[in-house]
Symmetry: D2
Subunit: 338 residues, 4 copies
């Protein structure tokens, strides 16, 4: 942390601030400059302490330097983490495809889609049993019945299953039926839920919040790791901006940004990231090319009658074609898709 | 909802879409135009159905028309709702001041601040016992001990108390000790928590999410009302934008926007909305002048040693001066501050 | 500027970076920390040099410390600047009201509005002769004929006149006819135009760009001052965010932020800032209460037939009422409105 | 356009609004609904007329339906436009690579980079002679001397040349020396400059503004076409959002969005889009994979000493490797890179 003094601060004033810093148990390192003196602070706990110093007298501004994440950081663990969902590795050399309907609507629908994506080459089945809906009057998911259907689809296809939990009771259930627990964008800073997921026995897919910075995203993952669950997969799903031609703005630069700082694997969800069927394939190709560890794609055999997010679901035929395209892109980024 | 056909769509194609609309139980009203035909759709449940039609053949785009909120809407209840927190009315002709420390840190700190704000003219005491923190390593609040301290401060000052709940267990506790339950910005779309708050016996202060649209904000309030709790107070606390000189961008235009559509009262929180002490008073005056029903302001007697959000807390002296300013502004907007 | 080394950087590596810094003519001040070493850099030209160091080997990140604006800064001139538009002071103790139609549509319309706002208490007349329109097919303004009408309205009412220039030829004309030159939001970083305005003989009202940071806004003003024109008035007019219930998001926190750093006066334009008539009065009151030096408000005697921006124009009656409200707010912030 | 009446509007009130619509020369088509009546409006000039009706009595809201762009639209010209820069086609089946230094700094630097990118497979040379800089104190480019150097580099390598013009005088010069004229993001709504570019004899590369919607972007292109210059190439270069780990947020979904609506080719600039060297290659691959017609990439042989934007410039070696990667991606999207 760097505390910048106002121009013209006297030696006494600078000493006063330095003493205030040391009084808090940190070390102060004054750096005299031509215009102003700055004071380097060490021994603090990162950016989150910064604001304390802003209100000291004669301080012009405070500049955070180090960051607060630890367990998610490459400084703690340099090699890439590979998380296993069932038997399927996420991270490493493979490109992992998670696919399935937005919501589990019925046994029949789920089995049709699961078999179709399995045949096309998907590795993991997704499908929502508990749906976070903007309106209380919208379809909220089948609940435990949906989880049973997902488990049946796993039996039928051999694909491990991931599904979202909305609260602690939901984690109890999802943990029992599924192979990975999804925490959705709206709950990225539901810290109570993150702590519960940190005590779960299954891997967690953590989606980026709609307006989360990189630091906030990693700190939310840190919540999970700090409770003992190291099997965390990040997922970019678009952020909210002024941009009006897609439902969200898919922020693909986060993939190399995460890879630089963190050892955790990261997926991209172009279905929520764009909100429109015709953009899913182009942005899926882009996500693979940017270096993501995998994709999460909504597929529905009859999207026009889907109970939720039909317009962003692609058909099994479109999905099969997309997997072929991804197979061609994977080697460019030194991955394989099998 | 309006379904716009592609230019050159034939009469048969238009009829096909109209039939698809009617097959879903809606009514279709074709509007032939010089360039294209549009089809008005009635009988639907509002914007949330819109995307279903986007993927029909020959449809260029779908334009949502009506909205999905009901109970929060002035179309259901035209007169302003007045919510009572303890004995204190929020909404109506008064300007209500909620103040207190960001976090309950100790019995002594809470009583000092509570007495100071009471003396300066505040109506309701705020203070966090459960703190949502970006980092798992930051101070997380005193928990139930904090709630007891708040209850004691109520006894000592007569001020009713509001405090945040982070999960369902938290609502159980807050409901028991406090006079109103706050749902924070990060939980605005924690639908499980909203439903629980909708079954609570106490009023709810619902903060706007960091990137929530007006419709999403009102729909989250609708979740609470739809469970039977009609005592909901909205609170604007700044949204996240590119703007870099304040922690958040306080979006004051939401006050007249809410007033037009909804009967619910709305507060403004300029402490989180700006994140810096020196901006709290100017933005508080602005919030009163724009027509908010009240303010929520962080006050700390020693902000430089506060355990959270010190830099945005004002001192009791600054607060007392601010209340005097607000007394002068209130009559301009036909309110009183007593 | 602070250059943060990667954890584990050796003494040699740190020395190498320090030498690279000094080789560029700056001074390097290493600050050893428990985790990492940072190097304070002095003698540089502010934030704009920062990125150069990011790519040096073993550097983790570079933190900008000082800023690049000079002439606009309070560090160069501490007392508030008062700019005179005609005889009317902007800045200082008064609250200045600029009002008038979005576009000059005709001699009759302009005179009607000018007389009405004069009577209601406005100090300066605004009106567009050159209109920046999103579409090439929209009304582009009356051009020089519009400037003549504005000059005539000045004769008739005694109000000085401000109007926008879109290019260098426009500045030539506006300089001749009007009392102040407006640079619009879309041209805030039209540096060629800023330089020309810096050589103009008349004051300049510079509107904030739709996504301009505070630093960019002040640097654009710096362009004008650096060419010799010190009479610059800033104007906040809303920024573009995801927020959907107003045309732009009026960012009122910029007023105290500017006041802290710069001596230049700042107006607020709630008409463009909200885009809707019913929000203009509430946000005007808020703008006065936050401490702006004045307001810029669109008024039209028949807004429903206005050739541009009718929906955000208020009527002369609404304007007269608003001025009365502002008179009550002005003393709260130690200003007067006469 | 759809005008939605308030609930409970009487038949007379609805008729009144319909008459007001027809009085403006449009046609009104009332659509009675269960809750409210809406009135379809046809014959209008698109979204830009919409606000006029918002302030009519008893109108709840107005929904824009059609758009205002014409010449850029696929409805006017369905087949893809191929623009020739010198002899190089942009659009169509090829993937076009524009590369070069951010700024022309010297004859030697420009020739070194030009030869290196030519050898690596670039098709067009870029380099700034007139630089739009946030600060008036930063290097502003070599001006006409820079244009001469670019022309010499064209002679030496055979690569056609594109460079930015900042004002009308700049267009005069760039038109004379270069093969295409770039309009930068900050000037996207400098309508005076767009009109001048519309009368130029050379193709125009139009960059998206930092907070431009798709409609605004296309309307700015429409300005150029409407003056007679049909050779317009669009370029996405990142937008400004809250996202903090890249200089801008590269909004790749605009590529399929433009392709659906417009026949104009579109490039992506991942150098400005990310602002950091290490993200340029991943986002370049993503841009090709999403379906862009080409890329614009900053290359510098000694980026750490570059006079502008060094941190986002890649070296000739990194560029050569990237071109190899792009060759593998091109066939996936049915393009070739030769």
């Amino acid at each position: 942390m760097l505390v910048v003094m106002r121009k013209g601060a006297t030696a006494d004033e600078i000493r006063g601030v330095a003493e205030a810093i040391e009084a808090r148990g940190f070390r102060a390192h004054p750096i005299p400059g031509a215009q102003r003196t700055a004071i380097g602070v060490t021994g603090n706990k990162g950016a989150l302490d910064a604001p304390v110093f802003e209100s000291l007298p004669d301080v012009l501004e405070v500049i955070p330097v180090s960051h607060a994440y630890k367990l998610v950081s490459r400084e703690v663990k340099n090699e890439d983490t590979i998380v296993r969902v069932g038997e399927v590795p996420v991270g490493g050399r493979g490109l992992t495809i998670v696919a399935g309907p937005c919501a589990v609507e019925s046994r029949e629908q789920t089995l049709i889609v699961a078999r179709a994506i399995k045949k096309a080459g998907a590795h993991i089945l997704r499908g929502g049993a508990f749906k976070p809906r903007t309106s209380p009057y919208s379809f909220q998911g089948l609940g435990e019945e949906g989880l049973r259907i997902l488990a049946e689809a796993r039996e039928a296809t051999g694909l491990p299953v991931v599904t979202e939990a909305l609260d602690n009771d939901g984690v109890d259930l999802v943990e029992r039926y599924a192979d990975a627990i999804q925490i959705g964008a709206r709950n990225m800073q539901n810290f109570s839920l993150l702590k519960r997921a940190g005590r779960a026995k299954k891997p967690v897919i953590l989606k980026r919040g709609m307006s989360a910075t990189l630091e906030e995203f990693l700190m939310s993952a840190e919540y999970i790791l700090s409770e003992g669950n190291y099997d965390v997969i990040l997922c970019e799903r678009g952020v909210r901006t002024f941009s009006d031609f897609s439902r969200n703005t898919l922020d693909l630069a986060i993939v190399p940004a995460v890879k630089k700082i963190s050892h955790l694997p990261i997926l991209v969800d172009p279905s929520h990231g764009t909100g429109s069927r015709e953009k899913v394939a182009p942005l899926s190709r882009a996500s693979a090319a940017v270096g993501a560890d995998g994709l999460m794609i909504e597929v529905h055999h009859a999207p026009n009658t889907a109970l939720s997010d039909g317009p962003q679901s692609i058909t099994p035929e479109m999905f099969a074609q997309l997997v072929q395209d991804l197979k061609q892109i994977a080697p460019v980024i030194d991955r394989s898709l099998t």
